[in-house]
Symmetry: C2
Subunit: 131 residues, 2 copies
Amino acid sequence: MKLTNAYDVELEAVNMEGAKGAKIRWLISQKDGAPTFAMRMFEVDPDGQTPYHEHTWEHEIYCLSGSGMLLTERGDLPFATDDIIYVDPNMKHAFKNVGTDTLKFLCIIPNEQPVTKKTLNPFAGETANNC
Amino acid sequence: MKLTNAYDVELEAVNMEGAKGAKIRWLISQKDGAPTFAMRMFEVDPDGQTPYHEHTWEHEIYCLSGSGMLLTERGDLPFATDDIIYVDPNMKHAFKNVGTDTLKFLCIIPNEQPVTKKTLNPFAGETANNC
């Protein structure tokens, strides 16, 4: 179990090639015992962005604040506070800050070795709504 | 791919026994093609709560707004905007609104049948910070 404020989690630079003015907080990850997926928060400076790239895993995004642009091969799509984005596996993407304030969003990714046997969830098909 | 505002996603009642004044939006789920986990938003009325129960899968929570209480067998823990909570598999829990405004939080859960082969992520061990 873990309960803390997101802003008390270490803020680290994103040093990957193609990143500019982007930082990350690993809010919940395998280090906390989370078996299946990891929740990270990104903070991107004005004019900054994450790398434009693709990979074999998906992203589930929740924009907490700011104004962003999702760059894709099919064109660019604006997004802002309370927008959600699902990025398919193997889809090229980048998240660019096009506003004047810091762009903040959550980005959840699957773990490298999910412990799926422990966490099979018969309710995830939306047959029941629980928490 | 999906990009939409969270508040444009259908708001459904949580009818499970023990729930009171709780509603849910399935923001990103298997219906969208998400292979591993589902992102939901809960909205809980003042004095409302989710069921006090346990299950074999984990929760990863981000509190968007409001004042809540996490009920556990070891005691109750207050939480508020920008707090994160990791609830272990098989841990009893409920989320109660103890404020005067709607309590809103994201709750991510693993899918019933995760497609893990497609989404193995060599970077999830925090060896690289990318998005």
